[in-house]
Symmetry: C2
Subunit: 361 residues, 2 copies
């Protein structure tokens, strides 16, 4: 498969221009592009500019408001609930995370639930904002229903990711950013493009049998929760997906379960919705609200050293610290540029033509 | 296997007497017994009175202090760090959860990290304390290292459970209480007693191969993280175990990773410990710090109804709401008594003889 290599700032300017074209303010365009480019830099290719045209299609369906009035509709010293006013999640999520951080400065921790929002990109972008302040960052979102709880074939949960970011002293921070499904959609898409079998335990058919077919989801099947089957703890993956669904949506007043509006613009939201838009949940905890930040960070360094030095089963595969591959990828891509597949490049070219602007490809 | 059926309050009085015998105050004995009996009532047989003699052996090794001075060593409006003074976790955890709830009353949420503690029983007991106040409860603990991160055979993490408790209006609350390993030790113990094969993906040998041997852990193997292998997301289970380890221990100043002191008294803690005792982490979030509690609880009811009504793959196995089996078990056991295996009864009889007190068996 042909790939293009594009310099970070070239891709960034293009992305900003697209958001300006649909009517975003300059600061919103810069913010939204920053989230997508961070994803491409970190190697989460499924969540970067590959999704740009998806956001634009939602805007064309009038499901995204490019002039949102973000507001706090309820708050206490350590909490807030935000109405995202149908904004891009790429805009409402940074807004909410800033509130969480500001509340943590005041009283140790800050917790913000967001309703009436849309897809927010990678969770890690938002959680990692806390690191700059020596805080632990937490970010979660619910998402289009694709995952079936244990014992059913009905798609009742999204891949509902959760992210925890912990600052280190002299090492990379630890970033646990994970979908609560056995395999996220991005992995399936790769197998689909290559038309390769997928492992059992990722997808079940519409009859509830596990399948190797990479197109099993499109034929009416569903993703399986982390754990894959009951014997291996799929009820735990289902439970984690439920935790994310409740914290992001039941707590904020967003839609949950099967009512989460689909990310793809060709599917309409269900009738009789219990809430507004999709939901997010953010947390920021000042490390020094528990112990001196230097002590914490020194111990995180020791934690990392100990885990990195664990004897590998296969010498070619050392133990990986959560977040390590993404940091390494970012170092490379900042220098060498971001690789894009031909399919993504064609999609972006078409988007530029559609919005009557230039493109760098 | 012969089982005994014993009335809740008879087992409770006996358990209190044992804690009194080792020098606990009356209120501490009542509290510690309450945690263990709650576990037996909920059907988590591995964490109830089956562990009583384990706690006593730790006390005999002078690793548990029955006259602890629990203290807050650091705090902000929404946070506290507690020094457990080597108390039973059955005592220090309720102390810390009360602080979290009290802080949530003041500023919306409360978060408490505990160091220098010991095994705290089931996480659900502590998280569920928040429900009485219309709060969301969170409880986590680290534990004796038995789990190997992806790519190594070294036991670097405990089964590190996390629990989230959400209040409902007219239904049971939703309780997600899960070990971050593919299978908790309790499940292994059952297979060991029956000498039955275990599924692949629970345990690996000391060479890093998955095994069906229920005794694989005792022969130098390790538990696998939730996800079982890399292809099925074991790096996610490892990541979750890491989150619990860091929030409970690196944040509080307890021991983490391979340095967590073993629960079994015949194993001594490692030298050069980075912290004190084991660590816990608790959270309480007032629902009405985000939206009116009645709205939240009505939507939790709708969530439960929707998930319960999902079409099952097999009519005999409906979708289960997290926490549902434990609530049903508790209803039965409150009425019919708690079943104990002969092995547990013999262990408790021996414990009574050893501490020169009577027993009800």
């Amino acid at each position: 498969m042909k790939t293009y290599q594009i310099e970070e700032n070239t891709l960034r300017s293009f992305t900003e221009r697209i958001f300006l074209k649909i009517g975003c303010s300059e600061s919103d365009a810069i913010q939204a592009a920053d989230v997508l480019i961070a994803s491409d830099l970190r190697g989460i290719d499924s969540h970067g500019v590959a999704r740009l045209s998806g956001y634009i299609r939602l805007w064309e369906k009038k499901r995204i408001n490019v002039s949102p009035k973000l507001s706090i509709i309820h708050e206490t010293l350590s909490t807030a609930t935000v109405n995202g006013d149908s904004a891009l999640g790429l805009i409402s999520a940074p807004f909410a995370m800033r509130i969480a951080i500001s509340k943590a400065k005041e009283c140790g921790t800050g917790w913000v639930a967001v309703k009436n929002s849309n897809h927010f990109g990678i969770a890690a972008y938002h959680a990692m904002k806390a690191l700059e302040e020596d805080m632990i960052g937490i970010a979660m979102t619910n998402a289009s229903p694709l995952v079936a709880p244990t014992h059913t074939t009905e798609r009742l949960l999204g891949t509902n990711p959760m992210c925890y970011a912990f600052p280190a002293r002299s090492s990379w921070p630890i970033i646990v950013d994970m979908a609560t499904a056995a395999a996220a959609n991005g992995k399936l898409e790769i197998a689909q493009r290559l038309n390769e079998d997928i492992p059992e335990g990722w997808v079940q058919t519409k009859d509830g049998r596990t399948t190797n077919d990479p197109h099993g989801l499109k034929s009416g099947g569903s993703l399986l929760p982390l754990g894959s089957d009951k014997e291996h703890g799929s009820h735990k993956g289902y439970g984690l997906g439920a935790v994310v669904d409740i914290l992001t949506a039941v707590l904020s007043g967003a839609n949950y379960g099967p009512w989460v509006p689909p990310f793809v613009a060709f599917l309409d939201p269900l009738p009789d919705l219990p809430g507004q838009g999709i939901g997010h949940f953010f947390g920021a905890m000042r490390v020094d609200a528990f112990r001196p930040a230097e002590d914490f960070k020194a111990n995180i360094d020791r934690w990392i050293q100990r885990f990195k030095s664990a004897k590998p089963i296969d010498e070619s595969q050392p133990v990986i610290i959560p977040g390590e591959p993404e940091f390494k990828t970012e170092l490379v891509r900042k220098k060498e540029g971001i690789p894009l597949t031909e399919m993504v490049v064609e999609d972006l070219k078409e988007l530029a033509r559609h919005l009557q602007t230039t493109h760098p490809f």
